[in-house]
Symmetry: C2
Subunit: 432 residues, 2 copies
């Protein structure tokens, strides 16, 4: 059963703080192992990838080839149910349309002194997309990670996915086809991250690596950061539902369980102002749990990290929500617009009773890669901005230099940087 | 003397690659020391800050107080030369105006199905700005880090700066006043980073920490990342100058030295198509070096990491520039606009003979915090975007849910996520 926290009780602040700071991930220290793998891939290239894949994924890459052939992708598309292909295409179209609106615009202008200033955006040259194997291999995540890169105009998008036991999730390959990704290598783990960062005979290096992965992949991404860019390191998923008594408890229970079934470390929290409603949701969770294929995972997540917070007034949920800074926040209340302006920290807000978070996982159009573990306080979900970078542009003629030079020279001298001052002053005799 | 690399020679690719991958920083492993300091600050709060400041900065915080009083800032402003104050105000105004243009706009709309989608930007609640002590304590950096936060609307901007030997750079305090930062603590090092991340009795925690620092500060930022956001970890500064023979060699030499005087690990590179011009620049560097107050630093940087690359045709500099991905790129050529479109990777571009990079350090208006160590391939300079975060908003009514549900349910089932499918399906009976 989930923990109950009542705002009216004297120890609420203490208990809520403790609840907030509960660690939901076992962080195995895999850094040494990962470092050895990265060093080995840098030294031996493809040969190292072949060895690690034989050992960890039980697949002989020397026999089947590192790169997934076009024909294999064709076959995967053919093997995927037409309804699933249609759903992926439907999702892809919505995701692409929404993300196209995120493309930042260049801003090049002259100020009142005639100084040319500019911010110019360009796509990253090459991006690597990590896709996990096994049960965490989600076709929807392929779309969510690859399509913003496509929208950004990234010329080269590379996908790596382990062929665990020789097999790759066919729907993942179909999703890659729909997303326009054709350079795919059957390799995973820290070795795949190393190959993307440093390159091998077969895999040319990329400039940035994105996508979820296990502890080894996360550690490898941290270690290669600097050599390449990385996206956020995602933690277990979370939902916070703010709900009044007028909801069907079964709907809210279903939403809490949709999050809980992801991972034993996932977290589902309900904030309500009605004790009886909270109890009804708790009972509905219990009933629905029995029928789930991933009941064991969901039950553990709900028991270990689930929470029901009882507040006197639903508006009192706002400061709590801002401290929780949930990845997903559902507003299942009569007047959600009264709440939205007060929410400062959330990865995504799902507005009203007919917007379950799951719509955002697949077909809403917005991205499902969102900040976890309270990081919505300082970071944002994946977007086109993650696949572009900005170059500043500054342009002066002799007159503009003459106008700006005195202040620059004064500041350079005050910071003790003579050569800085000279670099400006030397141009003044001819330029002034 | 700097290294010469000639594109026409047979071993160019090999030598250029080696030049590119030269490490310019000694990375001392300070992680264990830093972890102990962070743990201690978490456990003992202010008392730990007092102890470390006594030990590392030779200042008794119990006597002088952790927070810098308003009267001390008043006194610092009064002690700063009026010309420097004017120059700081001039710079601040230009920086603020330029950064105001970077503020992202909310985008809330309905698509053709009536689905409400949105991207909403909010400022980060609280930001901590680290300012180094000693010779690396730059007033200009206070402006560059604080003003974009102010423009973003960050409600609380905190500054930490060590009072090395009891003293704080007075111009740094004056710059803070001009930037509107009034919550200042005299503490530095890993202990200051820990205090900002976790809070102490006196210092309330922040959500993100920015600003440059030494190896201890950098390691501390990496270790608290996750608990709070951090900006990039900046490496030694760099400039790449692409110059034709029609430049005054002394101007170009001055620019190369302005970068080299920053740090022994700084890097200055010239690409030219004229050997005689390159030699003239090299001689000018030698002459100018003798007159610099920081001659020793500049000479070491130039000898260890400086480079002159000779190309047959200046346009051949472009692919090299994209591989170097310099923090600062000067285009000291007759027709710089012919080059700009071909430059994909650069932190900032300085266009034409009258735009020395130093203008961008102080008064150009663009930010001087830029990606180093080739990270312009995947990241951008500091901007207003670093102080805001985006929340996605999704809003469906019963009709929109009915339109999107089938694809969502199909994808949920194909991913084996029953509870996901139920969370949508359960709403259809009443919603459809």
């Amino acid at each position: 059963m989930a923990i109950w926290l009542e705002q009216a009780s004297g120890d609420f602040e203490e208990r809520f703080s403790a609840f907030l700071s509960t660690k939901r991930e076992v962080s195995d220290d895999v850094n040494a192992v990962v470092k050895a793998i990265i060093d080995d891939v840098r030294a031996r290239g493809d040969a190292a990838l072949i060895d690690y894949s034989a050992r960890f994924d039980r697949v002989d890459l020397a026999a089947v080839g590192l790169r997934v052939a076009e024909a294999e992708i064709d076959a995967a598309v053919a093997a995927t149910e037409p309804a699933v292909l249609d759903a992926l295409r439907f999702a892809a179209e919505r995701i692409e349309k929404h993300h196209a609106r995120q493309m930042p615009k260049d801003d090049v202008y002259e100020d009142s002194l005639g100084v040319g200033l500019g911010s110019r955006w360009t796509a990253i040259d090459a991006v690597g997309l990590y896709v996990p194997g096994g049960t965490a291999s989600y076709p929807s995540s392929v779309l969510m990670n690859a399509l913003p890169a496509k929208v950004a105009g990234v010329p080269r998008i590379v996908m790596v996915v382990p062929a665990t036991g020789g097999a790759i999730n066919q729907t993942v390959l179909a999703a890659a086809r729909i997303a326009g990704v054709s350079e795919i290598y059957r390799v995973g783990g820290a070795q795949a991250v190393a190959a993307l960062a440093y390159g091998t005979e077969t895999i040319a290096p990329v400039a940035k690596i994105v996508g979820p992965g296990n502890a080894y992949v996360a550690a490898a991404k941290r270690q290669v950061f600097g050599q390449v860019g990385i996206d956020m390191i995602a933690g277990p998923s979370e939902v916070l539902v703010i709900a009044d008594r007028d909801n069907d408890p079964d709907w809210i229970a279903a939403d809490l369980l949709a999050q809980a079934e992801h991972d034993v470390g996932a977290q589902s929290i309900l904030i309500t102002d009605d004790r009886a409603f909270g109890e009804a949701v708790e009972q509905a969770v219990g009933r629905q749990l029995k029928t789930l294929s991933r009941a064991e995972t969901a039950a553990r997540s709900w028991a270990d990290f689930g929470g029901i917070v009882l507040v006197a007034d639903l508006m009192a949920a706002l400061p709590l929500a801002n401290r929780i800074a949930a990845e997903h926040l559902e507003l299942a209340v009569a007047d959600p617009d009264a709440f939205i302006p007060g929410i400062r920290n959330a990865g995504a807000i799902f507005v009203g009773r007919y917007t379950p978070e799951v719509i955002g996982d697949y077909v809403g159009g917005s991205n499902h890669v969102l900040p976890t573990a309270r990081s919505a306080r300082f970071s944002s979900g994946l977007s086109v901005l993650d696949y572009v970078k900005r170059t500043s542009i500054l342009r002066l003629g002799p007159e503009q230099l003459a106008a700006l030079a005195p202040a620059a020279i004064t500041l350079a001298h005050s910071e003790g940087l003579d050569a800085h001052a000279r670099s400006v002053a030397i141009r003044l005799n001819r330029g002034g």
